[in-house]
């Protein structure tokens, strides 16, 4: 009886282990497929799914030259998409338009590097047509229970992720929000 309990514990532990590794692997490996799809998009200006059963496609590339980070942004802010990469929230605008562009990602995978951003940092977005440059203007921490993200009539880039970065907690209500304005 006791043995059965222990085996269950070990099995559960192994499951947790493998699922976390799976999550990481998925997040990591999917990047190659997304990158490939994005390169095709840049090539033929068409949207391409990274894999045949995906319901999303890469819409832009995001890079922070100073810390040499790079992300492929998937269209649509679903949790499933976020497991593969950072995402562009559907109601928000696209770079270059007079409407805030909002990109969200996980604090413990693709958007971990947000913690390294500083005010004044250059962020470059590249969609299938054009590159846009933004400069970080503010770094804020807000309570998502009381706040939402404002989409405004201005050409700005908003990056969000969870906060705090190095914390086991993953359902917290704090958010880290980066505002960058066009330059």
């Amino acid at each position: 009886m006791k043995k059965a309990f222990l085996i269950t514990t070990i099995m559960f532990g192994l499951w947790l282990l493998s699922s976390s590794i799976y999550m990481l692997a998925k997040a990591e490996l999917s990047q190659y497929f997304i990158k490939a799809a994005w390169e095709k998009t840049l090539d033929d200006k068409q949207n391409h799914k990274p894999w045949s059963w995906a319901d999303t496609y890469p819409v832009m590339q995001l890079s922070v030259p100073r810390i040499e980070k790079n992300s492929y942004v998937l269209q649509g802010g679903s949790g499933r998409n976020m497991a593969f990469s950072v995402v562009h929230l559907a109601p928000s605008g696209m770079p270059g338009n007079l409407k805030s562009t909002i990109i969200s990602g996980h604090k413990d995978s693709h958007f971990e590097y947000l913690k390294e951003l500083k005010i004044g940092d250059l962020i470059v977005t590249k969609d299938k047509n054009k590159t846009h440059n933004y400069k970080v203007t503010s770094l804020d921490i807000v309570d998502s229970n009381n706040n939402s993200i404002a989409i405004r009539n201005t050409n700005e880039l908003i990056l969000t992720t969870c906060y705090p970065f190095n914390d086991l907690e993953f359902r917290g209500n704090l958010r880290y929000i980066v505002h960058a304005s066009t330059i």
Partner: protein, 697 residues
């Protein structure tokens, strides 16, 4: 409602505040969009703060991006826009100015109408109209028209006024209690001015003009600092360039500036001129119509109209009247003769000098100087006495003595020995001075020199009122901060005048003026027989001296009466009969009378501690409401006549704003949680393995 996070505050600070919030309760997180709101201030407070900063010299404002705008430079009517991002003021473009002025005697009622345009492509969220008014002016009417909105000043009882103001503020509307940021600057606020929108302002104020050296000046503030005008509108006012290019006006009236004055001087005039502007003067019976010829919008000079009543060797009197709501309001004005003849009036001059401890030092020396100077001004056949007082009163002579060399020597020795020490007990000294021991044909003049630190004002006023008889009390305050109220009122009750010597170096000059003046009153024992029931103000009419006119106002119930003004010019009787039914067309007299009444009642109110306070308060309030006047208990509140429209405009303003929230999205859940799973998984496996091994052993 979600809040935008635009502040760039230190992360640590934000974390701490969030931490506190999470620990206490989930109170709504109200992050302000403006930093100053975090301090619990609204923008008006900010304006005041900004002004305060400015006055301490830390603040400089900017106008229209290229010019620095300075609030101290408001020398003419201006509409300003407040930029909350840069904390600066900009000036709106002036389109036209119309001034309409009614002058009655030395009372001017000025109506200013100005239009301004927001020539920028931006909304102005916060605007302010500012107009420089004279110290003694009272604004009683104010109206702003912005598109279809009208904001009008209304007189309300003060509690009501505050309620209206608070309600409007709660509803997010603009309302402002009209106030003066500095004593001579009138300001009122206006919110949400559209791009290219025109704002029309109308204000009205009443002002008493200054009579100086025989002439009266009316001044209208027009001069604008050169740096606030566009170069092409700069017109040399002397040359009056006719082809000056003026801004295109959208208003119907093509005149850019007009000044129309209706002058009822009350006296024949020997001179009537505009000092800096070209005007047309028309004579119409008892009026003079003065209108400005040039229409230049911007000016380097104020408009100054100067007139000189023809006066001979006798005092002159004029009467003005206004019919209003079944009453006749009368203003009587007495003008001193130009060259006052040397008075044969015999005088008994009693000096009272304050030698209390508070006078110690420079003040005491100045008072002694004043006293010595006073002695030199006496004629040989005058009588005089000196009373010093601190805790006790001590006279030089038991009874006023002749101003002969022997007595003057005694006086000088007495003055030399004066030392300041002890308390300030004015009562006994005043009683001694006012003692009714005047000899036939002598006029007793009491010159009361003190630093004016008193506490028992009402008691002293009562005493003066009871004991003054035929004497005159002239108060002279030494020092920069005397009790002006006491000194003024005491002189008023004592039918004398009040003089302040603020700078000790001015003692001789000021005392000389005082003595020249009081040595020859032009008219004494002035009385008016109204021949009907009348509420007269002031109740006791002062003597007429060479330096200023005397004015008496009254409210009468009867229109058809003859009134008789009388007094003594030296020893001869002066009298003048006025026929009341002659006009009744003057303006602003009812208001002037009410203003004077309010002033008197407010004085009484201040003096009384408990008795009849409610009655006085009610009287003051009623006067304020009936005559549309600001008082201690009534206030001018700017009321929005179309609040719904204003709200709409405010909303549009928000939409037009470059940074507006179009939409809101919730924050997505942005943590995979792999770390948690990895660590827990590892722990479970290790624990399981360990237990299995232990069991196996």
């Amino acid at each position: 409602m979600a809040e935008k996070i635009t502040n760039t505050r230190h992360i640590r600070q934000q974390l701490e505040s969030l931490h506190n919030k999470r620990n206490t309760s989930n109170l709504a997180n109200k992050q302000s969009k403006k930093k100053y709101k975090g301090l619990g201030l609204n923008w008006r407070d900010v304006v005041i703060l900004t002004l305060a900063l400015f006055f301490t010299g830390l603040y400089q404002a900017q106008a229209k991006a290229q010019d620095y705008f300075d609030l101290e430079d408001i020398d003419t009517g201006m509409m300003l826009s407040y930029n909350d991002e840069s904390n600066n003021y900009g000036a709106l473009t002036l389109l036209n100015s119309d001034y309409s002025i009614n002058i009655t005697g030395i009372i001017a009622e000025v109506t200013v109408k100005q239009s301004f345009q927001n020539t920028t492509e931006d909304w102005i969220a916060e605007g302010m109209y500012a107009f420089p008014v004279a110290h003694n002016a009272a604004v009683d009417h104010m109206k702003l028209i912005i598109g279809q909105r009208t904001i009008e000043g209304e007189i309300h009882e003060i509690k009501q006024a505050i309620k209206i103001y608070e309600t409007a503020k709660k509803q997010g509307l603009t309302a402002s209690i009209v106030k003066q940021y500095r004593p001579n600057l009138f300001t009122t606020e206006v919110a949400n001015i559209m791009p290219n929108e025109i704002v029309q302002v109308e204000i009205r104020y009443q002002q008493t003009l200054i009579y100086d050296a025989g002439h009266i000046d009316f001044r209208l503030p027009l001069a604008i600092k050169n740096r606030y005008m566009q170069e092409r509108y700069l017109v040399d006012s002397v040359n009056n360039l006719q082809d000056a290019e003026l801004p295109v006006s959208n208003t119907v009236d093509e005149k850019f500036r007009s000044i129309e004055i209706s002058l009822e001087a009350g006296f024949e005039l020997s001179e009537l001129v505009s000092l800096y502007h070209d005007v047309t003067i028309q004579n119409e019976q008892i009026y003079q119509k003065i209108s400005l010829n040039d229409k230049n919008l911007y000016d380097r000079n104020d408009f100054v109209l100067r007139w000189t009543p023809t006066v001979g060797n006798k005092p002159q009197a004029a009467m003005f009247s206004e019919k209003l709501n079944g009453n006749e309001y009368v203003l009587l004005m007495l003008l001193p003769p130009k060259n006052n003849i040397v008075n044969e009036q015999l005088r008994d001059v009693v000096f009272i000098i304050d030698t209390s401890g508070s006078m110690h030092g420079d003040a005491m020396n100045a008072a002694k100087d004043a006293l010595l100077f006073g002695l030199t001004q006496l004629n040989a056949n005058d009588k005089f006495n000196i009373i010093e007082f601190n805790t006790y009163a001590q006279p030089l002579f038991n009874k006023s003595a002749n101003a002969d060399p022997n007595n003057l020597d005694k006086a000088i020795a007495f003055i030399d020995d004066l030392e300041s020490d002890g308390g300030t007990n004015m009562g006994p000294a005043l009683a001694m001075a006012m003692k009714d021991d005047i000899e036939q044909n002598y006029l007793k003049q009491i010159i009361f020199i003190t630093d004016g630190s008193v506490g028992n004002e009402s008691q002293l006023f009562r005493q003066i009122n009871q004991q003054i008889n035929n004497a005159r009390l002239f108060t002279v305050a030494i020092g920069e901060a005397p009790n002006n109220y006491f000194m003024n009122k005491a002189a008023l009750i004592g039918k004398g005048t009040y003089t302040n010597i603020a700078k000790l170096s001015d003692v001789d000059f000021i005392m000389n003026n005082l003595f020249v003046k009081i040595s020859s009153p032009a008219l004494t024992e002035v009385q008016v027989d109204w021949n009907t029931s009348a509420e007269q103000n002031p109740k006791v009419i002062p003597d007429l001296y060479s330096d200023q006119p005397v004015m008496v106002t009254a409210k009468l119930n009867d229109f058809n009466t003859n009134l008789v003004l009388s007094g003594f010019n030296n020893t001869t009787i002066f009298s003048k009969v006025f026929n009341m039914n002659k006009d009744g067309q003057s303006n602003g007299i009812a208001k002037l009378w009410a203003r004077n009444q309010i002033e008197d009642l407010t004085d009484d109110y201040m003096l009384q501690n408990d008795v009849n306070n409610d009655e006085l308060k009610q009287q003051i309030t009623e006067l304020g409401l009936n005559y549309h006047l600001v008082s201690q208990f009534t206030s001018l509140v700017a009321v929005d006549k179309n609040p719904e429209l204003s709200r709409l405009v405010a909303m549009q303003a928000k939409d037009e704003n470059r940074l507006t929230t179009l939409d809101q999205v919730n924050f997505p859940q942005t943590a995979l949680g792999w770390m948690w799973q990895l660590i827990l998984g590892l722990l479970l496996v290790i624990f399981g393995m360990f237990s299995v091994r232990k069991q196996a052993i």
